[in-house]
Each structure stands twice: as C-alpha cells, then as structure tokens.
C-alpha cells in the first residue's frame, strides 16, 4: 500500500522533483503501471473544467464616500447588486439582468468588465441615517478602485450534469442552449475525463481549504456547494478567489437566448495522489462516466429520462435515442478544460502552486430536498373544460364547417379514429378551402402543427404556451395523445384573479 503525505508531495514541488500529470494523461499511466505503480510514480493529477456556472458572483467593497452612505440599493452598469449587509459591501450575481439591456448584459458581464479593468457606472440609493447621511450616490470606478473584489461562488463544478433534449414539438430556449423539437439535438456540460469531482468521487483529497485554480488565479474551496448531493453523485463546491488576480481568459460572461446571463468559470483542482485508491479514481475515462438525457420539453422538476449515455458517446458527436442518431453539442469547452489542467500542471511543476491538506473533507451523506410548497400545484386537468367538440380527420370539410358554425367555435381539434390528435381546423382553413374550391376531407385542409397542453402540465406552463403562441385556447391531451378537453386563456385569467 502506497501512502504519501501532502507534506511529502509539497517538498517535491519545492525541490522540483514532483511528477504531475493531467487526468487525461493519468488514464494510460494507470493502465500501464496499475494503481499501485501509478501511485508511486505520480504525485499530483490535475483536472479542469470550463463551463457555465450560474451560481457565481463577487463581493465588492467600495470604500466609504464623503459624506458616507449606507447603500440600500445599488446598480453597477444598471445591473442590481445585493447590498443588504454593511454600508458599502455588495454582491453582484452572475444572472442578474441589466434593467435597460435585459438579457444582453447582466451581472456576469459586469464581472468580466471588472476583470478587464473597464470602468463601471455605480448608482446607489439609501434612506439616510445620523451616521450615514448620504441618500444618493453616482460614481464611476474600476476594479483597482475597489478595496476587495472577492469571487464567492455558492455552487460550482457539479460532479455530474444531466444532458438535455427536447421531446416537444416546438423549439425551446434553456440554460442548456437551444433545443430543437422532436429530440433534434442533445446538449451536455462537463469535462468528462478531466472533470474535477469525477476524479475524486469519494472526496478523499478535496475539502475545505483545498487550493485550486480559479479563473486564472489561485483560489480555494470553502466547503460543499449548495444542493450538494453526494449520494446520487451530484456533489458541488463552494469556492472563493480574488477577482483582482483573475484573467478574462478564464472568466467569461455568456447569454443563453431566452434564458438569461451566466458566467463561464474556469476551474482546476489538483488531486494529490496520497494512495493507490486515489490513483485508481483518477484513471476514470469518458466511457466510465454516465449521465441521463432528460426531456427538457417537459417543464417540470421531474423531467422524464429518455436515455442513459456515457461522456464518450456524448463527445463522439451523436447519441442514440429510441434508435435515432441525435447530434450533440457541448455547452462547456473541453479545449479550455484541457488548457486549465495543463496550466495547473505547469504551475505545480514550476513550484508556483502547492497542494493543501483540507481542514475538513466534503460531506458524503447529505442530499438535496425539493422545495416545500404551500400552494397546491394546479394542473391543466383541474381547470380545463371537458366539453370539447372534436372532428374526425376523415370527415368532409362541410361537416367541419357545420360544426364550427353550430357551436360558434373558431378552432376545432381534429382527431384520428382512435381519438388521438391529428391537427386543428379553423374557420380560416375552411374559408381558404372554399376560396381554392378545394372541397376535400378535413385531413387535407387542417393545420397539422397544433400546439397542445398535457392534462398533467402545471397551469403556469399552459399559460406560458398560450402567451408565447398568441393563442386563446389549446386542446388538452392525456398520455395517449387523446383529446380529453380544452383549456382557454379565459379559464386561466379567472383562476389567477381568484388567487389574487
């Protein structure tokens, strides 16, 4: 059994004899020498990741103004920061949006602009006190004018990320990027073989006080991250770093269309090889790491799992779902992850970075609970009208016209023989058929692309879809795609009025 202390490893870093490899290089070393041989040979394995980490932000201290102010609200380039602490401290979070630019500029952009040394417009308000009389402040400053700019990210570097696809019939915009309809693509995140927590899944070397690569500078793990859930391999980290030492090569603002802003954070964790168990864990490959492909077309906390895939499959460019090859996209950058693991390796080799003994290892037994909610989650089936008139797709178009006129509906769901949805026919489709003297069957003139609601969708989801598509009503389907009702924007407005 090989046992090495952190002290021993650090003395090798000191005298230049340390052997450092990246987690990618370690795979072959363990294959050649075995865990035992690799543990003797290698002192440190470096990891890296570079991807969107929404749960990121920076504590800023502005120094006191004259006369002094106790800021109650503050905006940086029109992005609000949180200042419910002492007088001139504020936390700028990555996903807060600009009040004028919306999704094009957010907290993440403020953070990147600070790193780049750009000037930031500050606007703050206060209620005024005897000790802090000032009520309004406007100034312009850059990162050098601040006392501190300390990045504190409450949840970074997920051990594992779910992959995303979209089983619905319309394009959706998510924090996993644009998802094309009918499972047109799959997106994923994470560095696979280089992923920090995947290389020490039992947290034998990672914990409070571990020194890491963060945004191009030396930062620290300050504990487990929020939602840390090691029991199902969703461990997370809370990290700290000095923004003043970071580089915009490794901290980048991003905008996800239709979702908002986020921060791409570059992080690398060195794994000191203290024994052969740790050495073996760092031999993990893309093929060993599996993840679930979830259907983001279902806007629920419990998204259905459509497939289980490995990172090797994801990174090959296509994955198979239900017998179909679907193109994949990574949202995080493997090339950057590799660069980070390589840079950290050079730092350690050059004696510029020492590994540290954690004060306490990360907890292994916590889990992540869903939210306790007071209101009952109302579903479409609770408010839909079940008196829905449909028409068979093989009916004549005259019959459709008659049904529409008799019932004063403008939209008529069209069904197949078995009651499943086939399309929708509107008064407009009928007039068009008349104009074209095209007296055919309903199925020839109907609109096949029909926006529907599922009976089990939350009402909020149906409301959003009605809104987005500018509709006043949608047919409601059960799990067999049969039309069982209709939900209208009227039903929903009434419900909201009642709740308020």
């Amino acid at each position: 059994m090989v046992e090495k202390s952190i002290k021993e490893i650090n003395s090798r870093i000191e005298d230049g004899s340390v052997n450092v490899v990246t987690a990618e290089e370690m795979v072959d070393i363990v294959a050649d020498l075995g865990a035992d041989g690799a543990a003797k040979e290698v002192d440190v394995v470096t990891t890296g990741t570079f991807g969107a980490m929404c749960s990121s932000g920076v504590w800023l201290n502005f120094g006191h103004s004259e006369p002094p102010i106790k800021m109650s609200k503050i905006w940086l380039n029109e992005v609000e920061a949180y200042t419910g602490v002492a007088a001139v401290d504020a936390f700028i979070g990555a996903t807060q949006l600009s009040e004028t630019e919306g999704m094009n500029y957010g907290g993440a952009h403020v953070i990147e602009d600070l790193i780049r040394g750009k000037s930031i417009d500050v606007h703050a308000t206060a209620y005024g006190t005897d000790c802090y009389p000032r009520k309004l402040l406007d100034t312009t400053l850059n990162i050098y004018d601040l006392n501190q700019a300390i990045m504190i990210n409450p949840r970074n570097a997920y051990q594992k990320y779910n992959a995303a696809t979209n089983g619905s019939n319309h394009k959706i915009y998510t924090y996993m990027g644009t998802l094309l309809p009918s499972c047109g693509n799959v997106t994923y995140s994470g560095a696979g073989v280089l992923s920090p927590l995947c290389n020490d899944p039992n947290y034998e070397t990672i914990g409070i006080g571990s020194r890491i690569f963060l945004g191009g500078s030396q930062g620290y793990i300050i504990g487990e991250g929020t939602q840390h859930s090691p029991q199902n391999n969703f461990g997370t980290l809370m990290v700290r770093g000095n923004l003043k030492e970071m580089s915009s090569d490794y901290i980048r603002a991003a905008t996800f269309e239709g979702y908002g802003t986020s921060l791409y954070v570059g992080m690398g964790i060195p794994i000191p090889i203290i024994n052969e168990r740790v050495a073996l864990a760092t031999a993990i490959t893309d093929a060993d790491i599996t993840t679930n492909v979830l259907d983001y077309g279902v806007p629920s906390r419990d998204r259905p799992k459509l497939a289980e895939v490995t990172y090797e499959e994801l990174r090959s460019g296509t994955v198979e779902i239900n017998g179909k090859d679907i193109p994949t996209s990574s949202m995080s950058s493997f090339k950057m992850a590799r660069k980070i693991a390589g840079e950290l390796k050079q730092w350690i080799k050059g004696g510029d970075f020492f590994v540290s003994e954690p004060v306490e290892l990360l907890p292994k037994n916590t889990s992540c609970k869903p939210m306790k909610q007071r209101d009952r989650n109302l579903l479409v089936k609770d408010i839909m009208s079940t008196e829905v008139i449909t028409i068979n797709q093989d009916a004549t178009f005259h019959k459709a016209a008659k049904t529409i006129v008799e019932n004063a509906y403008t939209h008529l769901p069209v069904v197949k023989k078995d009651g499943t949805i086939a399309g929708i026919v509107t008064a407009w489709d009928i007039s068009k058929a008349v104009a074209e003297e095209n007296y055919k069957l309903v199925k020839d003139i109907m609109t096949k692309k029909v926006i529907t609601a599922n009976a089990t969708d939350p009402v909020e989801v149906a409301a959003r879809n009605l809104d987005l598509n500018g509709l006043s009503a949608m047919p409601v389907l059960n799990s067999k795609q049969e039309v069982i009702g209709i939900v209208t924007s009227d039903d929903i407005s009434k419900l909201i009025a009642r709740r308020q």
Binding site: G177, T178, N185, E257, S330, M331, S333
Partner: protein, 128 residues
Amino acid sequence: MMIKVNISADIVGEPIIAESIIETGTILNISQAHFDSNHGEIIAEVEMSQFPKIRDALISRGAEVAILDNPIMRDEEECVECGACISVCPVKVFSFDREWNLQIDADKCIQCGTCLKMCPHNALILEV
C-alpha cells in the same frame, strides 16, 4: 454556389422550380425547402456557370433569387470553442478536429441564423 429562392404568396402554388429546372437543364441541389400558404423559400446549390440561366428562368416566373455569399463568421476573441453551435446547424457547418478546435466549413452555410441564438458568447456573426 448557394442561392436562395423566394416565392411570394400569389405564385406559391405554381410549379416554378420544376419548370425552371426543365427549361434550363440546370441541376439544383436543394438543401432546404419551406413552403406554406404565405410564401415559399428554397436554399439550393448550383454550378456557378449555370447560375445565370436558372436565375433568369426563375425571375421570369416571378421568383426572387439571392446569392448566399455572406456565410457565417466567427469572432475568435469571443469564441471559447465550446461547440454549442455544432448540433443546431442544419447543414453541419461546425465540427471539432481531433484536438477539439472548432472547425468551420463556411461554404456550406445557408445563412439561416439558427447558430447565432445558440452561441452563448455572441461569437457568431452573419452580415445581412
């Protein structure tokens, strides 16, 4: 070369494309086609030498023809080579090489704009 043919509502029901192809004997390699009651749009590849003939044939039947010669461009400063753009492009303009560098085969681009919204770093540009 790539071209885009637009067909307006009043003539969308007529076999303009087929007639033009037969009349000129030009091969149109159609990569995208979209038709609805309001308009029709076709993206196709055509031999440069045959382009004037088919253009004239299409225009004489009321279609609009545009050359797609402003393909996608990438701002290398902004791009982090994540590869998010790869899976949304309908004609596979983007790919990774063995070292995970993003490769762009701009000649294939049909200027649909889908990748612009996908790119988290605003690194893709399409000049109109």
